[in-house]
Symmetry: C2
Subunit: 146 residues, 2 copies
DNA sequence: ATATTATAGTTAGCCGACTAACTATTTTAT
DNA sequence: ATAAAATAGTTAGTCGGCTAACTATAATAT
């Protein structure tokens, strides 16, 4: 009666659980569920443009605009126009943003550690290979064919 | 400069791509991105309660209520009160819903096939084992410890 | 038998994601 | 040099997910 859930369904379940734990660990920093990757990216590379951030996160510019507006409102970052190209706006972390990013980094590390407890290094490598293989299969599937 | 993306980040990427392809294949059936699993579940098991559906999909009842309202409006399903327990409402696919479910099943099969092209059966088993291991690690992590 | 508690759904309001249509600026072509 | 095309962001509207607060019905306890 309970059909074996397929692999992608299982993956979704795992990721939901993963996100839940990360959120739980940083809920005191005004950081919302989609923001951790952004904070880490900015912490590694201050002053990126919104376009670069969107590409980096694999998200549409419209999505990013709204997220950044919220994060600016909660004081995690500020935006300033690029001097040479008035179209682009560059994003900088505030002090609060840097503290949040540090907390996020710790939380992500902790969850990642827990998540892969009991994995051998070669198993993690194998998992990475599988994921890259899947990614390659899906990305190279042009919408035209069958 | 480009840090190795961690495994969960990679997983998110793969799933986004997966969902994109499923959506592409069923966009002519009034079926929106979160609805495929629901349609399949109902197609296998008509007349489930909302509670059962929510648990099955791993989603909060409030989320389901809104999704079902939309799907009822587009004519994919209808709801009726249980006779024995007036609190529960049972969900049934319409003919249109059954046709959509069939299309979804085909689309999912096709994407799943593409996704795992070049995988050996034992590799898929290994991947499942890894995911269950991760799921177990995360699910057994009580919020209290560390 | 009544009062309490538990369960099923709903509503409201938020965040994250998308597309489509828009503005503003910079490049490129003619 | 001016017109056309490309690029960066924004806005509006929708779907999917959540939490919190609510209603209605059923089950339990005293």
């Amino acid at each position: 009666m309970r059909p074996e859930p397929n692999l992608t369904h299982l993956m979704r379940h795992v990721l939901k659980n993963h996100r839940f734990h990360v959120d739980r660990l940083i809920r005191d920093y005004d950081v919302f569920p989609g923001q951790p990757p952004l904070l880490l990216r900015l912490s590694d590379n201050d002053g990126l443009s919104q376009r670069e951030l969107a590409d980096s996160k694999g998200v549409k510019p419209a999505t990013l605009t709204v997220m950044l507006q919220r994060m600016e409102k909660t004081g995690l970052l500020r935006r300033s126009a690029d001097e040479k190209d008035q179209r682009v706006s560059r994003v900088h972390l505030t002090d609060k943003g840097r503290r949040a990013a540090e907390a996020v980094r710790q939380a992500m590390d902790e969850v990642e550690t827990r998540c892969f407890e009991g994995f051998l290094p070669e198993e993690k490598l194998l998992l990475r290979r599988f994921l890259l293989h899947m990614q390659d299969n899906l990305a190279s599937w042009s919408p035209d064919e069958s």
